[in-house]
């Protein structure tokens, strides 16, 4: 019998410190065994449980796109026991990955449509996966608009990636910060405000929104005013998890389990559920 709780061994190939305060690091992981790599077939929006023997597991969104072969990227915020330990690890060390888990973004539904991606802070991780996927399959999607904000320029994730995307002409990238600094020449303003300015059209479009609760609270009304509906606004939730497979009973939002029926939900679905997340 296959045991879904046993993590597969991976090697840390590279650790990139993303933010100036060093609280966020991206880990590039590679499976030790080829069959594990082949079995790990995922879609943007899914997550995996990162396992450190002796410390525990943490559910982290997959930041890489399945089109980026041979490795997985996870961006981890240093918060507690497992993440602190992970942050102190070095390239070459072995850890475990269990997954892919969860319901992904509805990529097939997005095909042929315009896609607006709105992300805040370090919730941008699975959105990176989605953008990279769409750009690698560019012809399958309509207009791609991205609005991504962080507190300060130093807190932006994937700075190199953002530069690459900025240089392209097949994606409308809008990066903003709440507060600029001397080196920053880009937009300054909160994500909801920038969303209002960019005013992405809701016609034939889906919006993927992921960020801190306060950003979501003020962005949703902007979108609704622009003509978006709860069915076309897609969210990704976070909740405390342990098993990751809908059994341990911890991450439920009403009858739905964040780890199994989510983490991706439409706003319409969330409106029918208690706000226990």
């Amino acid at each position: 019998m296959n045991n879904p709780y046993i993590p597969k061994p991976v090697r840390i190939e590279e650790i990139i410190t993303e933010t100036e305060d060093r609280s966020l690091k991206t880990f590039r992981l590679a499976f030790l065994n080829k069959e594990d790599e082949q079995a790990f077939s995922y879609v943007p929006g899914q997550f995996a449980e990162l396992s450190i023997a002796g410390k525990g597991e943490i559910p982290i969104g997959i930041a890489s796109s399945p089109t980026e072969e041979g490795y997985l990227l996870f961006t981890v915020n240093k918060v507690g026991i497992v993440t602190s330990h992970l942050h102190n690890m070095s390239a070459g060390e072995i850890m475990g990955v269990r997954g892919p888990l969860g319901k992904p973004y509805p990529i097939n539904e997005l095909k042929g449509k315009n896609v607006v991606i709105i992300g805040g802070g370090f919730a941008f991780t699975t959105l990176r996966s989605t953008i990279a996927y769409m750009l690698a399959n560019r012809s399958e999607f309509g207009k791609i608009t991205v609005i991504y904000g962080a507190r300060t320029p130093g807190m932006l994730l994937y700075k190199e990636q953002l530069k690459e995307w900025e240089a392209r002409n097949d994606i409308d990238l809008n990066v903003t910060v709440d507060k600029g600094d001397e080196s920053w020449s880009g937009k300054v303003g909160f994500v909801p405000t920038v969303t209002k300015e960019v005013a992405p059209s809701a016609e034939d479009a889906y919006a993927l929104v992921c960020g801190p609760p306060i950003m979501i609270k003020f962005t949703q009304p902007v979108l609704i005013k622009l003509g978006w509906t709860p069915e076309t606004i897609i969210m990704s939730l976070e909740n405390r998890m342990k098993c990751g497979i809908g059994i341990c009973g911890r991450c439920n939002v009403g009858p739905k389990y964040t780890c199994k029926d989510g983490p991706v939900f439409t706003l319409a679905e969330l409106n029918e559920l208690p706000k226990e997340y």
């Binding site: 045991n3 023997a53 002796g54 943490i58 072995i94 909740n239 342990k242 199994k260 226990e276």
Partner: protein
């Protein structure tokens, strides 16, 4: 398939002892003032002459503390971070299970096997496969028993491989499945049932079924929208005297929440799971400190909504078997029957 046999009460201990030679035997045993399920090394240790056990037998399928995998924490070791699965569990028979608890097993089955290899709880299923469940019917249900509310009965056979009926000096042994038959094969105790015993068993069953109060109705709950139940003002007062301890969840045959933790001594580590409770304040607290259910009211409401609404939405059955343990054991007498009555208004 159904076969009726009988066994003299004085031969039960012998039967159990014989079974211990083949597999682990778990039966009600006395520990001080408590009747609890536990392994027996000799049949005489089993106590079958009483009301239901203090705690449910779910521990036999879903242990309170269970090793999931072992590993070394020595970073230099060759197999560093390789998690080793634990060995297969032993065969076991759980003896003396009341029909409500057996029905509880069927509910746990739904949780631990949600289809597809990714959603199978290997530990539970491995144990389940190797388990025979021998039930004991309830001649005298308690006033807190309400199995009938959920289609159960003091002599219900759901989830059982064998059902015993106490007819005084004997048990009528109703064999229900092949597994049950296999357990009795070659055993000295059981013999073919006589008509008198069968008739007596029928009378006892009839009288027991009559005495069980229906208890509660849950018919209206399914039709209500989640948010309608969630926002109902009844929660503002129902939760007030709850202490948010874990007694109801831990004694319940169907509660299944658990926590996963790593423990290590020197370099020998184990990832294990322990029962956890939605009643505990930290159950849903994020690493950031944010807690989706920060108040007692949130957690109290969650337990009842989960058992009687969400579970029904997902699995077409309520996650309660009417065993009445939570009613008898709650330190502040919170009565599930009263809560559900409010929910079903």
């Amino acid at each position: 398939m159904m076969k009726e046999m009988v066994i003299d009460k004085k031969d039960i201990a012998g039967l159990l002892t014989e079974l211990t030679g083949e597999m682990t035997v778990i039966a009600p045993v006395r520990k001080g003032d408590n009747l609890l399920f536990g392994p027996v090394s000799d049949g005489s240790e089993a106590a079958l002459d009483s009301v239901n056990t203090r705690l449910a037998p779910k521990d036999a399928l879903f242990p309170q503390c269970e090793k999931m995998m072992t590993f070394t924490t020595d970073r230099q070791a060759e197999d560093a971070h390789t998690m080793q699965d634990v060995s297969e569990p032993d065969k076991q028979v759980i003896f003396g299970v009341r029909p409500c608890d057996a029905a509880g097993f069927l509910i746990l089955d739904k949780v631990f096997n949600q289809g597809g290899a990714e959603y199978e709880d290997t530990y539970y299923l491995r144990r389940r496969e190797k388990t025979t469940v021998v039930g004991l019917g309830c001649n005298k249900p308690l006033s807190t028993c309400f199995c009938a509310s959920f289609g159960g009965s003091p002599f219900g056979t759901d989830g059982l491989d064998i059902l015993l009926t106490d007819v005084g000096d004997k048990y009528v042994v109703t064999v229900l499945t092949d597994k049950g038959e296999a357990r009795l094969k070659g055993k000295s105790g059981p013999s073919e049932a006589d008509p008198t015993s069968i008739e007596k068993a029928g009378q006892i069953k009839e009288s027991a079924v009559k005495s069980v109060k229906a208890g509660i109705a849950t018919d209206k709950i399914k039709g209500k929208a989640t948010m309608e139940l969630f926002d109902d003002p009844c929660w503002d007062t129902l939760y007030e005297t709850c202490m948010n301890c874990g007694v109801c969840t831990y004694s319940c045959p169907t509660c299944h929440c658990f926590d996963i933790q790593d423990e290590a001594i020197d370099t020998e580590g184990v990832r294990m799971r322990n029962w956890d409770s939605c009643m505990f304040s930290l159950f849903t607290r994020h690493g950031s400190g944010h807690n989706p259910r920060p108040t007692k009211k949130d957690r109290f409401r969650q337990r009842f909504l989960h058992k009687f609404k969400y579970f029904q939405d997902n699995f077409d059955t309520v996650a309660c078997v009417g065993c009445g343990r939570c009613i008898r054991l709650c330190p502040v007498n919170i009565d599930v029957r009263q809560v559900v009555e409010e929910m079903n208004r």
